[in-house]
Every structure is written in C-alpha cells, then in structure tokens.
C-alpha cells in the first residue's frame, strides 16, 4: 500500500505522503458523504427531519464520554469481523460467513465462560476468548477445504453455513445448554462467571484495545511475513502462485481458518466484554457489517479501525435517534448499504471527484470454475 512504501523511503517528502493518504481516503470519505446525503433525502421522504435525526445520531454516539464508550464497544466486534473479511479478500476469497463464524465464537466463549470454574480472572478470560476464536476458525475451515479441494465457491458455502450456524447455535442455547436459573424461558445460555469477563477501563472497553492490537498483528502478518506474501500472491494470481511453487490449496484453507479465527474472536469479545452470555439474535448482522467495513477501510487493517468506529457510532446512536427524532433504527442499515454501494462503485464517485482510478487497488475474486 502507498503509505507504507513512502514511509520506507524516509522523510523525502511529507507532502507526497499526505497526497497518497488523500488518494486512499478520498473515495471512502466521498462514499460516506454521498450515503449520508441520500439517507437524508430518504428521511425527508418518509416524513422525518434529517437534521434532527443526524444531530441525535451524533449525540448518541459522540455526545459524551458514555456515548463514546458505547461507540467503541459497538466498534470492537466490528473491527474483528472487518479484519476477517479483509484478510480473506487478500487471498481473493470472499468470506460472507464471518457471521456464522462469529456466532460460534460467541457461543463457545460463553460456554467456556460459565462451564470452566476456578481459574484466575485474566487466565479464564483469555482461555474463553481463545476457545471462541478456535471455534470460529474450525467452522471457517469447512468452506476453506471445500474451496481448496472441490472448487465449491466460498460465497455460497459460507452463506449456507451461516444458516447452519444460526440453527445449531439456536438449538444449543435453547436445548442442552439452556439457562434454567430462576424459571428462565428465553433461549440463552447461563451468564458467564466474573472471572471470564473482559473489563472496561473507565468507559472504554478493554476489548477495543485488543481489536486495535489485532489490526496491527494482521498488518504484520500480511506485509512482514512469508505467509502474508504467499496469501497476497494467491490473491493477485493463483496461477503465478502455483508456478512459483506455493501450495495454493493449503494457503486458501489457512486463509479461511485465520479469517474465521478473527471472526470467532469478535464474537467471543462481544460475549465476554458486553453481553455476558450467549443469546440468539444478539450478534445478528455483525458479520455482514464486516463486509461494509472491510471495503470502506480499503481492506487495509488500519483503514478498518476508523470504518468500524463509523459504523459502530451509527449503531450506538441509532436508539437515541429513534427516541429523539422518531426515526426507525433501520435507516442506519440503508445508509450503510449506500456507503457500501458508493465505495465499491467507485467509478461513480471518481466521476464526481474527477480523480483517476489507481492500478492495483481493485479487488478481484474468483468465479465458479476456478480453484
């Protein structure tokens, strides 16, 4: 990516770095603005006052320290699901199944959080988090293996596996591991023990720092290790990778496993840091948001953090907006979808901004027949 190359060249010119940064950021920023403008039009059509709605949205997400903490808490699992999707993109894979992997992560972390007893706090939380991440990784191994060895396209298999994940986690939380305390009838697992909880520092959840750390690790893995080089090569050209002697099938599988590990960890952090148990429906949509976030963040680990904070803010402020301005929360989904549209249909935005397309930044995924 541009920023990293130029930083290697030293302080030759700060201006060049800035213009490179602008070139990277211009499209996502314009996409966000355009989406907000169209969102305002839609709000006006449905009879609401867009200015009041947006003011309430900002107040509910950045208005005070508590709101800001809520934004970061919402952004935390989103950073993970965004990283999961972006990581798979680097190998030319589209992991729409981050949702299912995240659900398994959330469930298994919850199970480890209430079943394992007698561990010291820090150790218990770490173990529960890793258990969730591993569950996500194992679940993602299925589409990885299928793609690598049979050519079944990961977009369809991961979406089908999302439905499988929803059904199985629902069954477990409503059957064998249902919370039976105090005559509970809702489908949910028992609450995790205090020792498994991931605490907050003031209003800011500790999980957020873990998410930032994960972004740095993903960046390091992708651009500073041999494995990362192989993953990116497979993503750019599987044929070239094969010709160079790389094990393409193995790399594809491993990429999906790591992607699932990240998604599972996102689910685990949500369980251990915020929800406190597994309850079906609590993590709905987080995996799909990962797609928007990965693309808004230009599939770069450091771009994902601000993108996730933006989407997290919309989620955090949505209830305030519903309460103060009487606007249905779902408008944030529409705005998000519009952001996704404009950031991917960047030719439209480029026409408005009058900038030229850059080479090498386009994402290409494989079609049906290729392996």
């Amino acid at each position: 990516m541009d920023d990293q190359q130029t930083s290697e060249e030293g302080s030759q010119s700060f201006k060049a770095w800035l213009s490179a940064l602008w070139r990277v950021m211009a499209i996502p920023l314009a996409a966000v603005l355009l989406a907000l403008v169209i969102g305002a039009v839609l709000l006006a059509i449905s009879g609401a006052n867009p200015f009041r709605a947006y003011a309430a949205l900002i107040e509910g997400s950045f208005g005070n320290m508590k709101a800001f903490g809520r934004t970061l808490a919402k952004a935390t699992p989103l950073i993970f699901s965004g990283l999961a999707v972006a990581f798979a993109f680097k190998a030319g894979l589209f992991n729409i199944g981050a949702q299912g992997q995240l659900l398994f992560g959330a469930l298994v972390s919850a199970v480890a959080g209430f079943m394992i007893k007698g561990l010291p706090p820090f150790l218990h939380a770490t173990l529960a988090l890793l258990a969730g991440a591993t569950a996500g990784a194992l679940f993602a191994a299925i589409p990885g293996v299928l793609k690598a060895y049979t050519g079944a396209h990961e977009v369809i298999t991961t979406i089908m596996l999302n439905y499988v994940a929803i059904n199985i986690t629902d069954y477990i939380a409503d059957g064998p591991l249902k919370d039976t305390s105090g005559g509970n009838v809702i489908a949910r697992t028992p609450a995790i023990l205090d020792s498994a909880k991931i605490p907050s520092i003031g209003e800011i959840p500790l999980g957020f720092f873990l998410a930032v750390l994960a972004s740095v690790l993903v960046w390091w893995l992708l651009w500073r290790t041999t494995l990362g080089f192989e993953i990116r090569t497979v993503g750019l050209s599987p044929h070239a990778a094969k010709y160079a002697g790389m094990k393409v099938a193995f790399t594809v599988t491993l990429t999906m496993v790591i992607s699932g590990f990240l998604a599972g960890m996102g689910g685990g952090i949500e369980t251990l840091g915020i929800v406190g148990r597994y309850q079906p429906g609590f993590n709905a949509g987080l995996g799909f948001d990962g797609i928007t976030i990965a693309l808004l963040g230009k599939t770069h680990p450091f771009g994902i953090i601000p993108a996730a904070i933006l989407i997290g803010a919309m989620k955090a402020g949505a209830s305030t907006m519903q309460f103060n301005a009487g606007v249905a929360k779902e408008i944030t989904d529409v705005i998000q979808a519009l952001m996704l549209f404009f950031v991917t249909a960047d030719m439209i935005v480029r026409k408005i901004l009058r900038t030229k397309a850059e080479s090498g930044e386009k994402i290409t995924l494989s079609g049906w027949g290729q392996q």
Binding site: V155, L340, A345
Partner: protein, 341 residues
C-alpha cells in the same frame, strides 16, 4: 507432469452415457420409487408432498433462470437474493396500496428488472467485481425493505389455484401439476421458453457466444455489452417474479428477509442443472422435494429438533456445490468484464 498428450481410451457409448447421466438417473429413479411406495401407503400425503415440492421449487427454478441468463452471457449474479427480496416487497406494497394483484405482480417484475439493470451497470459498464456488485444489491435490498417495512400489513387476497379441467383429477400428478396458481404455471412456461431461446434461437446463440468467447463474438459484430445488459435485466425481471411468488402467491404477507437464502440455493440449483433451464428445473424439483419431505417429517412427529431438519436444504446445497461444480462446464468468460479494444 507429463507433457505428451495421449488419446483417451475408446469408451463405449453406454459407459459414456452412464458417466454423464448415471447419477441423475439414479436420483430420479429413487425419488420415483419413494413416491410410488408412499402413494401405496397414503395417497393424500403423497399428493400433498408433490404439491409442496412444486411450491418449494418455483422460486428456486425462477432464481436459477435469472442466474443462468446472466451466467450464459458471462455475468455472475450473486444478487438474486436481493432482487427477489425487493421484488417481493414492492409487489407486496403495490398490492396493499391498490388492492390489485396483477398490478402488484407487474410491479415486482419491474422492480426486479431495475435491480438487474443496476447489476448490469455495475458489472458491464463500471466493470466492478461482479461478486461484490451482487453483494451490494443484497445488502441494499435488506436495508431498504427493513426500513420501509411496517408490521401487520397483509395483501388483499392471494393468487388462487386455477384447476385445468379434467387434467387436475389425474391421480398422483394431477393436483401437483394442473391445479396451480398463475405464477407457478408461468414458471413451467418460462422454463421451456428460456430453454428454447437459449438453445434454438439466434439470440440464444449470441448469448452463449458472448459467455464463452466475447472477443470472437465482438469480431463477428455482436454487441457484447447489449447482450449482457438485456440478459441480466430479463434475469432480474424473472427474480422479481420469484419475489412476487413469495408474497402474492405463497404467503400473502411480507416478512423481513423472507427470501431466507433462496437466491443462493437457486445458484446451486443452476450449477447442479449444468447451466440449462431444463436441468435447473430438475434440480429445483429435487430441492423442493427435500424441503417437502422436511415438512412431512415435522408433521410425522419424528423426534428430531426442528433446527436440525431446518438445515437440510442448506447442507444439500453445500454437498451439491462441492460435488458438482468441478464437473460442470462453466461459461468460459464467466465473471470477466469485457474490455473493448
């Protein structure tokens, strides 16, 4: 790696036939055996299962037609789910506003066609990655329908079955095939029509040429962009019709995300059917049969948690994809934007 090419050993035509069609024949035979066996036990249940098979297969085969029109001209359509969902929603809304069913179906078709136009614009003109383009359509449809959806609305009536005279009284197949609502009949016609157009008309030949070798087609004066646009738009219209089937013929109301992954199952159906309308129809009937059996299992009171029965169609889709995608000929240029020289 050997570099010398050896001629394949001569294979008897019978063996080749078995290799190509053996599995399909086996599946068809076993399904027919199960149906006849069941019919001897209880004719009412059998007729219900067959009727339900047709009902379940209708949106799948329509979705598959949408998919294969695009793919035959080399545009991958992952957005069938979204086109269906938005078609279902707009059709539903128009019916609620006007009380007119025919107008509602028409609105659903137009909505699907507009979504098809959007996909064609993204993938043909903007040359975006087609899989991302389709995903954009899916997320957009989910967001828009979620925001404008109001709880508690129902349609003014539903499309009713029209029995085709004495045909509807034929045992076993009569009630399933000849006593259906209009969109189901339209589906039968569309399958045959699209098959005819694809394989027996000039337009179909052009479409397949554009899907296999766009450069050669262009050299012969075929407008690659136009062929892709038209096919993807017609495909979208068919997906819109599938949406209309869901709200106006099957259910009579709208729910959030009511397509429930059917658009993606349709893609598996398309691949299983080897990118041909008739093949897709057969595959859709198989999927429909699996879903119908699933409902019967639940009625029969077999003690399996409903979540496990609920995952069957999805698992079947994965198995089909894993087993068949490698053995099917995919249009050679599928998913590749065309650059004019």
């Amino acid at each position: 790696m050997q570099t010398t090419t050896t001629l394949p050993a001569p294979v008897s035509p019978w063996k080749r036939f078995l290799k190509q069609w053996g599995m399909t024949l086996g599946i068809v035979l076993s399904v027919v055996v199960i149906i006849i066996w069941q019919y001897s036990l209880n004719e009412n249940i059998t007729e219900a299962v067959l009727a339900s098979t047709i009902r379940q297969s209708t949106p799948l085969v329509l979705g598959a037609l949408c998919g294969l029109l695009g793919e035959r001209s080399a545009v991958i359509n992952i957005g069938i789910e979204g086109q269906m969902l938005l078609g279902a929603f707009i059709g539903f809304l128009v019916n609620v506003w006007t009380g007119n069913l025919l107008l509602a179906v028409f609105a659903a078709i137009i909505t699907g066609a507009i979504m098809g136009l959007l996909l064609a614009y993204m993938s043909v003109t903007l040359k975006m990655d087609q899989i991302i383009g389709g995903t954009v359509i899916n997320i957009l449809a989910l967001g828009l329908t979620g925001y404008f959806y109001q709880v508690g609305l129902t349609t003014n009536g539903k499309l009713q079955p029209i029995p085709l005279g004495p045909l509807a009284d034929i045992p076993i197949v009569g009630p399933a095939l000849f006593n259906n609502p209009p969109i189901t009949y339209a589906t039968f016609v569309l399958v045959i029509l699209v098959h005819y157009i694809l394989f027996y008309t000039k337009w179909g030949l052009r479409t397949r040429a554009v899907g296999e070798h766009p450069r050669a087609a262009d050299t012969l004066g075929i407008n690659v962009f136009k062929v892709r646009y038209v096919n993807v738009i017609i495909g979208g219209a068919i997906a819109g019709l599938a949406g209309a089937f869901l709200t106006l013929e099957a259910v009579g109301s709208f729910e959030r995300n009511m397509t429930n992954g059917r658009g993606f199952v349709a893609l598996a159906v398309m691949i299983f059917g080897k990118f041909t309308p008739l093949g897709a129809w057969g595959a859709a009937l198989l999927f429909g049969f699996a879903s119908a059996m699933q409902t019967q299992l639940q009625f029969a009171g077999i003690n399996v948690p409903h979540q496990f029965i609920g995952i069957l169609p999805y698992v079947l889709t994965i198995v089909v994809l894993a087993g068949f995608v490698g053995r099917t000929h995919v249009p050679a240029a599928d998913g590749v934007p065309y650059e004019k020289e």
